[in-house]
């Protein structure tokens, strides 16, 4: 009895993982970027790159989304909104930080109005470097996230050197 139950739950787990990997719906949030990264994300959504091939769809509502694509550093104003958007998403959810600013604060590092990079506010699953990253890089980052998801390995959390405050 126990063995068969185990088998069924394993099978269900594999089916849900397959579904999750093949249908990541994304929501896009700008937490204070210079808009360069956002333009590249929009370029990724155009027919030329056609990410509907991977089942990726941009959704307006955080309630429908699985992947939160954030751009830019987190400003003091945007922090609350970013957190609220993240909390409105149903589990399981993933965060992708796009651009150098999302990784380290980038050119905005040390600004008076900046909380810091996105990892200081949310647990980020994938970082996509570049200023701004090309659409190919964004697709590559998301596909890497999906591969990790499929293998059941969450990407290693990245340790940052503590930020120097002037």
């Amino acid at each position: 009895m126990n063995v068969s139950q185990n088998y069924v739950s394993q099978l269900m787990g594999r089916i849900t993982t397959w579904a999750r990997v093949n249908s990541p719906w994304a929501i896009h949030f700008n937490s204070g970027s210079c808009n360069g990264c956002d333009i590249e994300i929009l370029a990724t959504l155009t027919p030329r790159y056609d990410i509907e091939r991977f089942g990726i769809k941009l959704r307006g509502s955080p309630r429908h989304a699985d992947v939160l694509i954030c751009t830019g550093p987190v400003t003091r104003q945007a922090r609350e909104r970013l957190l609220r958007t993240y909390e409105q998403m149903p589990d399981p959810k993933f965060v992708v930080a796009v651009g150098s600013c999302g990784i380290s604060g980038g050119v905005f590092q040390g600004c008076y109005n900046i909380v810091g990079h996105i990892n200081e506010v949310l647990p980020v699953d994938a970082f996509i470097p570049g200023c701004p990253p090309r659409p190919e890089a964004i697709i590559d980052g998301i596909v890497k996230l999906l591969t990790h998801l499929q293998n059941g390995t969450r990407p290693e959390p990245i340790q940052f050197a503590p930020q120097e405050t002037a």
Partner: protein
């Protein structure tokens, strides 16, 4: 014995699992065709299935101020309405499972149940976006419902019966789409309004009101509404095909005819831009309803003249 057959027909074929799966395939075909019209590659064939399983396995968040019964009940009612309507329609080219005098009206109202449930769900959603979406869905319901009904009444009046089965048998020898071209066009565009496809997607315009009435739904509820919509796509297309494109006949040829309708709808979807909600209502009542009424008038006069 009879009960077993009925149960089988409700659970697996023609209603139930096979209908849900075919709904997903039709949805995929629609998305793929639109993608090809936009010069994209488009989704893979299992995309709707993956979407549905993923949504079913996700967490369902219930907003604070909603009514529990409505929030959990509405998706189930919506899906069951669409599935029940399928009992009276010739799905996939097979004769309807049940039929009685006047089942055309019942099937049409069961199909509208999905829209009404969406409207109620949006009103219940405690979010301004879902409220606006709900208002728009219900406004659109008032716009297309009467012309669509009138357009489907045309074949019914020509056949002289209100039973879907008899009408589709009659339509096998009388190609209504040649005899009543105006009704066919109104029915086709009414179909797009019913399914809230572009250019009639103002109720779920993601660029203005996030996701319309379903903004607050996540996980299971959203999945059930999605399935309901794809089931409705199959049922409504089958209905229009059976009435206007030469009845039921051979299942394979029937499938081909539904695909041709789908192709046409995908073309319109990728060609036209979204109409404002007041433009939608104006268009339906100024042209759609009048044209359908004119069609019915012609049928009545011709029938009286021939008799």
């Amino acid at each position: 014995m009879n009960t077993i057959v009925s149960l089988l027909s409700i659970m697996f074929f023609p209603v139930g699992i096979s209908l849900i799966l075919s709904g997903m395939l039709y949805e995929w075909a629609d998305r793929k065709l639109v993608a090809r019209f936009q010069n994209r590659i488009g989704p893979r064939w299992f995309q709707p299935l993956a979407d549905t399983i993923k949504l079913l396995s996700k967490e369902e968040i219930k907003p604070h101020s909603v009514n529990n019964l409505l929030f959990y009940g509405l998706p189930i009612v919506a899906l069951s309405g669409a599935l029940t309507a399928a009992l009276y329609t010739p799905i996939l080219g097979f004769a309807p499972t049940y039929s009685f005098q006047g089942d055309l009206i019942v099937a049409l109202y069961l199909l509208s149940l999905l829209t009404m449930c969406t409207g109620l769900a949006g009103w219940n959603g405690a979010s301004r976006f879902s409220l606006i979406g709900a208002t728009r869905s219900l406004t659109q319901l008032f716009a297309y419902e009467a012309p669509f009904l009138l357009a489907l009444l045309g074949p019914a009046m020509a056949a002289g019966t209100w039973t879907i089965k008899d009408i589709s048998v009659y339509a096998e020898n009388h190609w209504m789409f040649i005899a009543q071209p105006v009704g066919f066009v109104v029915a086709l565009i009414g179909l797009m309004g019913k399914l809230e496809l572009p250019p009639f997607d103002a109720p779920e315009a993601e660029t203005e009101i996030v996701a319309g009435a379903l903004t607050e739904y996540s996980g299971r509820g959203l999945a059930l509404f999605h399935i309901g919509k794809s089931v409705e796509l199959v049922v409504a297309i089958s209905l229009v095909t059976a009435f206007y494109l030469g009845g039921v006949g051979n299942p394979l040829i029937f499938l081909l005819k539904t695909l041709i309708i789908l192709l046409f709808m995908a073309m319109l979807q990728s060609m036209l831009t979204r109409l404002r909600i007041d433009q939608t209502v104006g268009m339906w009542w100024r042209f759609g309803a009048l044209l359908a009424l004119l069609q019915i008038l012609v049928i009545i006069l011709l029938k009286g003249w021939l008799a």
